[in-house]
């Protein structure tokens, strides 16, 4: 085995760790992990086969891990559902920054990984950090939002978005530990923990056992802030508050769909401001509308902990005057409705939940509340439905929500103008395969819609108007609108038009679990069926692997540069707040 060992050592020294060797152990945190000094993490070694407890040796820089970490491993001879052994050491932490070589061995099974443990500067640059996350925010969303909101004359934009004033400072790679492709769980988890993980996972490395709540944990930014100081924490989203992006700020699970558990984990952290949808997971199962499977009443628990509760925009207005310093605002049982439906079309579920606040109002209330904390704050604001409407290729809804997200960033910039010790980050968690390619002009001749697609010089300019100055087109269904298409799609009917009757549902599932075109759109004038280019298991358009653009302004923004892994972003955030200086 000597030769193999030498190769392993060489490969890690060069920075090319083997992704996984079929017959070797796996160590979590994985090779090339970057770990905040003193932050707790679970150290797990999964051996390839059954080994004896007395044969297991784990060392950190040649010293027994138990000595360095000050506690012992739990040995499991046969992991549940796996015919192999593992050792686990929960809540390990390393007090000294530096390069660590971790070796695990049991007989012939040897694995070596390296970790970098880092400290932050001693002096904070920023008192407050606002992290604006446009879910799925791609370059096309920015371009289309600008064209729809501001218009264009002779090739020059007639106005600028708020995000247009913030410099792009990094390209961010979004891939997961198990695939080049990615979802909103592992991506946001990387931003919020500094560790990359697998698709669907939050705040954990994905181990091989089936249980979704036993995986080796890493610390989230909210936990790190609670452990190191007194900063307030805010989470604002238009999605369910248990959805992957907001969940990543606080939670630990292999499966983002563990939403009832995530709701409990969020309560454990008790962010000062929690605003979004997803009340179904706060209600005991006896209440109609609940999605819990137990009798826990989280609304009650928040109330008992001194939170002001708001369930409508009007109640949020009342709650913002609270002097408790804590607001729980839940405005929908599920995901909140999108801006186009809330503000103009009144479709979706707006008739059931007619008084939902928008992302801008929620951001303003959160900032006002969090700013009361003399220690500063960390606020995460998510524009969730940029993604949720890009999946079904409902471009108008996705772009209206991009405009709304941009206006929320505007609220952040206004705050930072008065509080210059505020770092603002604006980014996406992954991209979509979406592009703006021209216009669709109803007044071009013929009945075939593809002949009305204007490209190159024939595109001209779209004729959206914003006479009321709210930043949104007054009417989404104009005669010369943007032509926006996805690079990837299931079977669906392309209608070349905005979906005026509610969010687009391109495909439905058949008994073979294959997605087929939703025939509800078959008879829309001009609709054509497009044969999908995705596997028939794909329900909607998928995430792209393309880099996302990260923009930042304010103190600490100089920490971002060039190409960065998503997990590198965390370090810039904690550096800016200086939450873990070397002792």
């Amino acid at each position: 085995m000597r030769a193999t060992l030498a190769v392993l050592a060489l490969s890690t020294a060069l920075g090319f760790g083997f992704a996984s060797e079929a017959d070797a152990a796996t160590i979590y945190p994985l090779d090339r992990a970057t770990i905040l000094v003193r932050s707790p993490f679970d150290l797990k070694v999964e051996f390839a086969g059954v080994v004896k407890a007395e044969d297991v040796k784990v060392t950190l820089n040649g010293e027994p891990a138990e000595v360095v970490l000050g506690k012992g491993f739990t040995f499991v001879e046969r992991e549940p559902g796996v015919d192999a052994s593992a050792v686990m050491l929960r809540a390990a932490s390393l007090a000294k920054p530096g390069h660590y070589t971790v070796e695990a061995r049991a007989g012939d099974d040897v694995k070596t990984v390296t970790w970098d443990v880092y400290a932050t500067p001693a002096q904070p640059k920023a008192k407050n950090v606002i992290f604006f996350l446009g879910d799925g925010l791609s370059v096309a969303h920015r371009t289309a939002a600008r064209l729809m909101s501001k218009g264009m004359t002779e090739g020059k934009a007639n106005g600028r978005l708020n995000i247009d004033g913030i410099s792009p400072v990094a390209f961010v790679g979004t891939s997961a530990t198990d695939a080049v492709a990615t979802d909103s769980a592992n991506t946001m988890s990387a931003y919020m923990t500094g560790h990359k993980t697998a698709v669907n996972a939050l705040g954990v490395y994905a181990d091989r056992t089936k249980d979704s709540l036993d995986d080796p944990k890493v610390e989230t930014i909210a936990e790190a802030l609670r452990r190191t100081g007194g900063k307030a924490i805010g989470i604002v989203t238009t999605a369910e508050i248990e959805d992957a992006t907001p969940a990543a700020v606080v939670s630990h699970t292999r499966r983002r769909s563990d939403k009832a558990d995530i709701a409990l984990m969020m309560f454990d952290v008790k962010p000062e401001v929690v605003l979004g949808g997803g009340s179904a997971y706060f209600l005991p199962k006896s209440v109609p509308g609940s999605k819990r499977k137990d009798d826990i009443d989280l609304i009650d628990r928040y109330r008992e902990s001194g939170y002001a509760l708001a369930t409508t925009a009007a109640e949020l207005e009342t709650a913002r005057g609270t002097n408790s310093g804590r607001i729980l605002g839940l405005f929908h049982t599920g995901n909140m409705d999108v801006a186009l439906d809330r503000l103009q079309l009144k479709k979706g579920t707006v008739s059931k939940f007619p008084d939902q606040p928008g992302l801008v109002k929620m951001t303003e209330v959160a900032l006002e509340q969090l700013a009361k904390d003399p220690d500063g704050f960390f606020l995460m604001v998510e524009g969730a439905s940029i993604d949720k409407m890009s999946h079904p290729m409902d471009w108008e809804r996705a772009m209206y929500d991009t405009i709304e997200f941009d206006q929320a960033v505007g609220a952040g910039l206004a705050f930072a103008a008065k509080h210059p010790d505020t770092l603002i980050v604006v980014t996406g968690d992954h991209t979509h395969g979406v592009s703006v390619i021209g216009t669709i002009d109803d007044n071009k001749p013929g009945t075939e819609m593809r002949e009305k697609v204007g490209v190159y010089a024939d595109a001209g300019f779209p004729n959206y108007e914003d006479k009321n100055g709210d930043g949104y087109p007054d009417n989404v269904d104009v005669s010369r609108r943007l032509a926006i298409f996805s690079s990837n799609f299931p079977d669906y009917y392309e209608t070349f038009r905005p979906k005026m009757n509610g969010p687009f549902e391109p495909a439905v599932q058949n008994e073979k679990k294959e997605y087929v075109a939703n025939e509800a759109y078959k008879d829309v004038p001009g609709a054509v069926k497009r044969e999908g280019n995705l596997p028939r298991s794909a329900d909607t358009a998928v995430h792209a692997v393309d880099d996302v653009v990260l923009q930042a302004t304010g103190p600490g923004a100089d920490g971002f540069h060039g190409y960065m892994e998503e997990s590198d972003i965390y370090r810039v955030l904690v550096d800016a707040m200086a939450i873990a200086p070397a002792n």
Binding site: S286, L330, T333, V508, E511, A520
Partner: protein
């Protein structure tokens, strides 16, 4: 039993005799007040509890081979919440327990289900699926 749904040949879709007495119930009729803090059943649903009713909707694809129920939705489900962690069921679903196996109907086609209305939270012992409204001893046909 949903495995059987797909596997068995199409059974005769004769409307069950008791359907004559069944009261039509629409998805819009299910809930009275809707709020973030919970829904409340409509007076119509409360009055029809335990009675035969007919509902029109769409059959969501089977949950698991071993499940003996399916989910009836108001509009075709574009995303299967059982398979995708990106989605969740809408609030106003009705769970249907068939009195005997029937062939899966395409999610694109409306069906009419007749069964006895059960009202109130109930957890399926095999799958852990929690439902509020159920049609039990049910049969369906194309609408």
């Amino acid at each position: 039993m949903l495995g059987l749904l797909g596997a068995l040949p199409l059974l005769a879709l004769a409307r069950p005799a008791r359907a004559a007495a069944a009261t039509p119930l629409g998805f819009g009729d299910l809930y009275g007040a809707v709020s973030v803090l919970g829904l409340s059943f409509s007076d119509k649903v409360k009055a029809l509890a335990g009675q035969p009713v007919t509902m029109r909707g769409f059959m969501a694809p089977p949950l698991k081979a071993e499940a003996d129920f399916f989910v009836l939705t108001e509009i075709p489900m574009s995303i299967c919440p059982f398979c995708s962690s990106d989605a969740d069921w809408p609030d106003n679903i009705v769970v249907v327990y068939l009195d005997r196996a029937q062939t899966f109907e395409q999610a694109n086609r409306m069906i009419e289900v007749t069964g006895r209305l059960e009202v109130g939270s109930w957890t399926d012992p095999h799958t852990g699926f929690v439902s509020l409204l159920r049609l039990v001893g049910a049969r369906f046909e194309r609408a």
